[in-house]
């Protein structure tokens, strides 16, 4: 399934990396701790997180994931947005909380890293 479908399901707002909307989402993971994401992130994966600090984007870049969804309608600091734009990193924002975000995507057929 593609990024643009994920955006639609989450009523998402694409903040950076618009050219990646047609890319395939291999799997999805969720977490707020950087080390946790560093441990399980894989290339081609989308990460859902409530962590809107620049560290989330840096973690995403280092692990070469496809992109990051910031949940709960969190205010995303300007520094985070700038870092994402500079690196053409896919950054999406959704108003849904973690449980609903996961539920919506799972129902639509997206799979977790452990089910890939």
């Amino acid at each position: 399934m593609k990024v643009k479908e994920l955006v639609k399901i989450l009523d998402g707002e694409v903040i950076s990396g618009e050219d990646k909307l047609d890319e395939n989402v291999k799997s999805i993971g969720a977490g707020d701790m950087m080390s946790e994401i560093l441990a399980f992130a894989k290339p081609g994966m989308m990460i859902l997180s409530a962590q809107a600090s620049p560290q989330s984007v840096r973690t995403g870049i280092v692990t070469e994931i496809l992109g990051l969804v910031i949940i709960s309608g969190k205010n995303i600091p300007q520094q985070t947005i700038e870092m994402a734009k500079q690196n053409n990193f896919l950054l999406i924002k959704t108003k849904y909380y973690m449980f609903s975000t996961c539920g919506r995507l799972y129902k639509a057929g997206f799979k977790g890293i452990d089910e890939e």
Binding site: D32, M33, S35, E36, A39, Q55, R58, T59, I61, E64
Partner: protein
């Protein structure tokens, strides 16, 4: 004798390591007909302190140590054949002896080295305390010590794993971690990845290096209370990353190794750090990892990634 205590502690963990894994194989030997003066020269040239004496079939029949040389000098025996002075009652290690046996021998007999022989008493190698420690390091994914003897190690530009020289000014990549701001943590890791991409390193290796370096760099920023350095050395078959600081050191590595244990502040946790998984992640993504830390002296992380697999 802290060193001995450490050896004992590791011996149990690495009981499956055998003498053949640890010994130096190209052992220098002499025959009983050689003169003591030749033994002395050999020790000087090869910088060794003991020489096994073998017959024509490489069967071990004696050993000459520095003490024997001193005795020969005292009694004017330097021009006499070795057999007049050598110790014939040689204590050996069998090639199949395991680390526990070997460490016990070092412990009880207070000798510096043991010749290693097979069941027919044919010399196979020689084993010293340093060989034992190096052997453990080789098998180890991680070692920790705040032994005072490590003072010099922490400031030396020598690989903790292989002993080769790693001069700071010969590093292919150098990033100074001089920002105490948590927001900047990971900048060096990201730049290192960009640098390695230009060097056409395999992408999955770059990813692993980035993640492990990110964790090490974050530790410097969060925990060390000092500045630090990231250095990258590209060798023929491997990439060596060093992340060093001169900060407060790791208080208790056994705790630090525990998944979930953290000393991170609430402020740092707000940024998604302090999961207590940093060292676990470094272990997970490196081929070899050594961390040496001493309280108030700093921490040195050395990570090896093989590129020839």
């Amino acid at each position: 004798m802290k060193n001995k205590k450490n050896l004992k502690k590791y011996a149990d963990i690495f009981a499956h390591i055998k003498a053949s894994d640890l010994m130096t194989k190209n052992v220098t030997t002499l025959t009983p007909e050689n003169k003591m003066s030749q033994a002395k020269e050999m020790m000087r040239i090869k910088k060794i302190s003991g020489i096994p004496i073998v017959d024509k079939k490489d069967k071990l029949i004696g050993i000459i140590s520095l003490e024997d040389i001193i005795k020969a000098l005292e009694f004017n025996k330097m021009d006499e054949p070795i057999q007049n002075t050598m110790t014939t009652d040689v204590i050996t290690v069998n090639i199949d002896d395991n680390l526990t046996d070997i460490v016990e021998k070092f412990d009880i007999l207070k000798l510096r080295r043991f010749p290693v022989v097979d069941k027919n008493n044919i010399i196979q190698g020689i084993i010293s305390r340093v060989d034992v420690l190096n052997g453990i390091l080789e098998k180890f994914s991680l070692i920790y010590s705040h032994d005072k003897k490590r003072n010099s190690t922490l400031s030396q530009e020598i690989s903790l794993i292989t002993g080769e020289k790693l001069l700071i000014n010969e590093a292919e990549f150098h990033f100074a971690i001089d920002n105490a701001d948590i927001i900047a943590a990971g900048t060096g890791a990201a730049l290192l990845q960009q640098f390695l991409k230009k060097k056409e390193v395999d992408n999955e290796i770059i990813r692993r290096i980035g993640i492990a370096t990110y964790e090490a760099e974050t530790n410097v920023v969060i925990h060390s209370k000092s500045t630090g350095d990231i250095l990258c050395f590209i060798k023929e078959d491997r990439i060596i990353i060093r992340v060093t600081d001169k900060g407060i050191g790791i208080e208790d590595l056994e705790q630090a190794m525990e998944e979930g244990f953290t000393t991170a502040s609430d402020y740092v946790k707000e940024f998604g750090f302090g999961a207590g998984m940093g060292i676990q992640n470094m272990k997970r993504f490196t081929d070899k990892l050594v961390i040496i830390s001493e309280k108030k002296k700093g921490t040195q992380v050395e990570m090896v990634f093989y590129t020839d697999k």
